[in-house]
């Protein structure tokens, strides 16, 4: 090996050849991780905090502002509890809030029951080729436009539709477009893929070694499922339930299109349309409060790693 004759210098690539402003800035940034972090976060944080959180804050303020009785316009900084009094004085608002929460729970339980077997089958029984196919088969109805799916259920459920035709031989009639049960069916349909996909991922992540260990220790398959598998996929179930619960809580188009029932979303929408923004704003604090509590509990249960 020949000894170097020339004095040792840094390799050329380490010596900045051109000191263009961009390059100068680049190396300045490179030496300052804090500056890099600020540069990365500045735009997204500005957007999310000013536009999104800012909008939520304005919504909160509007709930405490008075409305001009003639023009319907909200007068900023005219503090009042009128909107809350309106909501508290009319029991309909309470009924609707409870009905919506009941429906959200019902839809979540329905979707969990429907999703568990198919998610389990996809993750642990189906062959890899079949699994890929099934994932696509879940993604198609998930991504087919929301409104179009609701609309299609409307055609199925309406008089002389598919349901009427199917039950006619038994001398029965379809539910028409007024039944609250329609809302239950359609909402469960709409959010089912949101439950299947996290559950599928959850089942897939369960290490086979744990299942084998359980079997070696004498656990029958039902015991293994209940004592080993379910606790491990529970965070995924909670992750899925965030969607089924939250989406049901806020939906107003489905109840409007397939039933005569009013949900929380309808109250917000109707009040916004009738330019009673304070009542709409005050009422929307109910689903916000419910969802914030739900999300905090879900995060504690480890659901966020399963989103």
């Amino acid at each position: 090996m020949a000894l170097p004759t020339a004095p040792i210098t840094a390799p050329e690539s380490l010596v900045p050849r051109r000191t263009s402003p961009r390059r100068k800035f680049g190396s300045w940034v490179h030496r300052r991780p804090r500056a890099r972090l600020v540069g990365l976060l500045a735009a997204p944080i500005t957007w999310m905090v000013i536009i999104y959180l800012g909008a939520l804050f304005i919504l909160l303020l509007n709930a405490f502002w008075a409305k001009d009785p003639f023009t319907g316009k909200v007068e900023p900084f005219s503090w009042t509890l009128d909107a809350f009094k309106t909501i508290a004085s009319n029991p309909v608002y309470t009924t609707i809030a409870l009905r919506t929460m009941g429906m959200a729970i019902l839809v979540t339980v329905t979707d969990a029951l429907l999703a568990l077997p198919i998610a389990y089958y996809m993750a642990r029984v189906a062959s890899p080729a079949k699994r890929r196919l099934l994932v696509v088969a879940i993604l198609i109805p998930l991504w087919a436009a929301y409104l179009v799916k609701v609309y299609s259920w409307r055609i199925i459920l309406q008089g002389h539709g598919l349901v009427d035709w199917a039950v006619a031989p038994f001398g029965m009639h379809g539910p028409g477009l007024s039944d609250i049960m329609n809302t239950w069916i359609v909402l469960s349909y709409l959010w089912l893929p949101y439950m299947i996909l996290p559950l599928f991922a959850g089942f897939e992540r369960v290490p086979s070694s744990l299942i084998e260990a359980s079997a070696d220790l004498g656990g029958r398959s039902m015991t293994t499922f209940r004592r080993v598998m379910l606790p491990l996929v529970f965070p995924a179930l909670v992750a899925g339930s965030i969607f089924t619960f939250s989406l049901t809580l806020g939906d107003y188009i489905t109840p409007d299109l397939v039933s005569d029932t009013k949900f929380i979303g309808n109250v917000i929408y109707d009040n916004a349309a009738n330019v009673n923004l304070p009542v709409a704003a005050a009422y929307s604090l109910i689903p916000i409060a419910i969802m914030v509590v739900y999300l905090l509990v879900a995060r504690r249960l480890g659901a966020f790693e399963n989103l």
Binding site: R23, G26, A55, I58, L162, Y189, G250, A272
Partner: protein, 267 residues
């Protein structure tokens, strides 16, 4: 775990049942688009292609399509920039308030859409901002950011930091490292996220109703108003089928581009 045989059979039956349930409305809609009866009775008395030409010749539909495409494109571009920056910061750095930021970035999709809608509308009204395309785009970008953020962060978790460190050791500055190392690693996740965000924006109605002015229509807004007019239902069917195709094709492409999609598409 090897399940008993009867359990496998039951699981298979349940799976088929759920699949039938999931595809029933889509299939019914596809058939109804060719139904010759304006009343959309079942079974269809006869089939026709007539409604397709009716839909293509409707200037309102054409205009709504253009609006939807413009809104989805701009919202997706905004979301790509904001979502990628945020994902890089949260995944590659440790800092005070990181948990809060990751929480804020889940919020627009975790809170019901009606909340985002009414919050934006209230703000627009409070500040006297005219409702139109711009206000629609701002609303769409806000939840599209979340989709991109989730896709990129899921990918970054799987791309080890070592490649970026090696690049820095070899003398590349932060921008060069991003352009030559990080970007190629997350490129398919970005593309997949962009397709999903586009699809999400294209179909959005719950937020859009609140943020659109009376004069601006997107395709979902047009469908929602046309549903109330029985005469237009056959044309609605046609538009609905086209919309399903247009929203499913990007997802199929996204799925082929990136395996992450299965998990993150739920968001």
């Amino acid at each position: 775990m090897t399940e008993p045989r009867y359990v496998r059979v039951l699981l298979r039956i349940a799976t088929i049942g759920v699949l039938v349930f999931l595809f029933l409305p889509i299939v019914v809609l596809a058939i109804q688009a060719f139904n010759s009866s304006k009343l959309l009775t079942w079974p269809p008395p006869d089939f026709t292609l007539h409604w397709f030409s009716d839909a293509a010749g409707n200037p309102q539909i054409v205009q709504a399509f253009q609006n939807s495409i413009v809104a989805a494109t701009v919202a997706t571009i905004l979301a790509l920039i904001l979502g990628t920056l945020a994902a890089l910061a949260v995944q590659r750095y440790d800092f005070f308030g990181k948990q809060t930021i990751s929480f804020i970035f889940v919020l627009p999709l975790a809170l019901p859409g009606v909340i985002t809608g009414i919050a934006l509308r209230t703000s627009y009204v409070t500040f006297g901002i005219d409702l139109g395309m711009l206000t629609i785009i701002v609303g769409h970008a806000t939840f599209c950011v979340v989709v991109i953020y989730n896709n990129v962060i899921a990918r970054l978790r799987r791309v080890p930091r070592t490649a970026e460190e090696a690049s820095a050791d070899l003398g590349a500055d932060s921008f060069t490292t991003f352009r030559r190392v990080t970007l190629p690693a997350v490129r398919t996740a970005l593309l997949a996220g962009a397709l999903l965000a586009f699809g999400l924006s294209f179909d959005e109605i719950i937020v859009t109703i609140f943020t659109a002015g009376p004069g601006t229509q997107t395709i979902p807004l047009w469908i929602y108003s046309a549903i109330q007019r029985p005469n237009e239902l056959p044309v609605v069917n046609v538009v609905a089928v086209v919309v399903i195709l247009l929203s499913v094709i990007p997802v199929y492409l996204a799925q082929r581009l990136s395996g992450d999609v299965a998990a993150s598409a739920a968001l």
